[in-house]
Symmetry: C2
């Protein structure tokens, strides 16, 4: 196995975030399920946007947020995702490259616009996402560069890739290349409704070893095993995944593996403003910890730190140096 060129390479739906602070009434009036990610078509996107208040925009996308976090912490990071060559796509490309991430996926020159997520943030800080996949629909196996995948120590994939029509083929192709090159593959289950749509396939990915490391939050874990009992679900996860990491919001996280179960507390915060990107940035810190050869506990603490930063402001990308933040808190960087 040759030395890796990238520490972590992420593959995901490239999505531009349109964020707005709103109230519970807006969610109810539009039939939205609070805290979830709903896929919407262009007509519904227009209808939601028309009713939304003034917004703030920034680049997003679950795996992209994670990869930006990894780069921000100081590791070598790459991203694969499909945008269109339009004004928003150019903002997207700028932001991810400016974050120090290698991003070489060819933008679509025609077809749907760069994908957007209309994100409603309620006063309790919870976010509810409505995603128009747009150009992200068109990620295909041909966007996977075998040499780049083989040169990345960890491949990070999002469960959301099961939604576009051919992205999962790209996902499986990347996983195969990575494993053939002796690399690790991590997967996030993304969203409890996403798990509900693809439960059997996700379980299959874990049981066949297509993914070595699995990230899930509590809702996703419960959905995966269709049980409301946390311990039962956790036990099953420990059987199915080589390493399973379950995030539990203010209760911290739990890491399960053949070596045992480790609980790591959440990082204290002053005020939760917007949970958008909490799971994504947790994964960033955790993956960065693994890259640096830290144990699961230190990796969990790095994840908690990165998540704490991102939930204290609007948007899913870090606004401060996570590297400095980790140093200030005595964590490995």
């Amino acid at each position: 196995m040759t030395e890796a060129k990238y520490d972590v390479l992420g593959i995901g739906n490239a999505i531009f975030d349109v964020l707005v602070q709103t109230d519970e009434g807006f969610l109810a009036a539009h039939g939205m399920t609070k805290g979830g990610m709903a896929l919407i078509d262009e007509a519904r996107a227009l209808s939601i946007y028309r009713d939304m208040g003034p917004a703030t925009e920034m680049s997003g996308g679950s795996a992209a947020n994670t990869i930006v976090g990894v780069a921000n912490l100081g590791a070598r990071a790459a991203y694969v995702g499909k945008i269109k060559d339009d004004q928003i796509g150019r903002l997207y490309m700028h932001d991810i490259r400016a974050a120090g991430v290698a991003f070489e996926t060819t933008p679509a020159s025609d077809g749907p616009a760069t994908g957007c997520s209309y994100i409603l943030v309620t006063p309790d800080g919870e976010r509810t996402m409505n995603t128009y996949l747009g150009a992200a629909q068109d990620l295909t196996p041909s966007d996977i560069d075998a040499a780049q995948i083989a040169a990345s120590a960890i491949i990070y994939l999002e469960g959301y890739l099961w939604d576009p029509k051919s992205a999962k083929e790209a996902f499986v192709k990347a996983s195969t290349i990575a494993h053939d090159a002796g690399r690790e593959v991590a997967l996030t289950l993304s969203d409890s409704f996403c798990v509900d749509r693809y439960r059997d396939e996700f379980l299959d990915l874990m049981r066949r070893g297509t993914a070595d490391l699995v990230f899930a939050n509590e809702a996703e874990l419960h959905s995966l095993y269709q049980t409301s009992d946390f311990d039962t679900a956790l036990k099953q996860l420990r059987t199915d995944a080589k390493v399973g990491v379950v995030t539990r919001s203010e209760k911290g996280c739990v890491v399960v593996s053949k070596d045992g179960v480790i609980a790591v507390p959440a990082f204290p915060i002053e005020k939760m403003v917007d949970t958008t990107g909490a799971g994504d940035l947790f994964a960033a810190g955790f993956l960065f910890g693994l890259v640096r050869g830290a144990g699961f506990e230190a990796a969990g603490r790095l994840g908690a730190l990165a998540a704490a930063e991102v939930i204290q402001h609007i948007g899913a990308r870090p606004q401060t140096s996570l590297k400095q933040l980790a140093q200030q808190n005595g964590l490995p960087v």
Copy 2:
């Protein structure tokens, strides 16, 4: 004089803000004058953007920010400014309408893209703006709807309108219509370098009474009268303007008129994050105070309150209800 349909109508350069937190070194490396607004062409825009870190985007434009603040406080507001019918222009149109502002200026269907300002925010919270005017170049007198102007109690114009080639004709046209209808005209001097470019014309606008109320910050005031002595400059402003309002950052503001000189303190803040929009939102609060028939002192306090809100977060548009904030602080709404 018929009853007004709008309390305040603003005319300005419609600009989309691309904000990034950076360090002093970036400004130096790119030859930027800290705290100012520099006009840039497309080539320089590309060159600055290429070197900028990951950004956050939101609608901006000086007079537009003010008008959004006026609407947020609860008054009836309208805006005139030129965007292009492109992706960014559509974000822009959404945001200002979603803020409750009447915005009917026909977007350009060809020509340059919607204008953008690349705004560098340094760790001290100061912002340095690099503005590509784009479609804002093409605001002309034909964009001025005489009936709408005549139906607005106060017309608010930005000095920046002197930069595009024919916007100042639109400005003068609007002022004439407003005065013929018995309305008031307010002007912000916008930027000390802008004052330096158009000093004589701005003085002329004040002395001829084209503008009744003039907003300036200290740097603009000093530039206008080419003196470093504040009291000398203030005395001249009192002679030249029917009402002059000078903002002095943490020192509050001073209102001069034939009735005398009133000083109003700044509103206390926890942490200054980004000064972008400070002057714009001060003007929003002050104009709103006048609309509600409050005296200069209460208007100054409303201005200070709105400015305090906007400098405690990234971006030049309010993120909370200024109306509620004013109520909580016992100010008239």
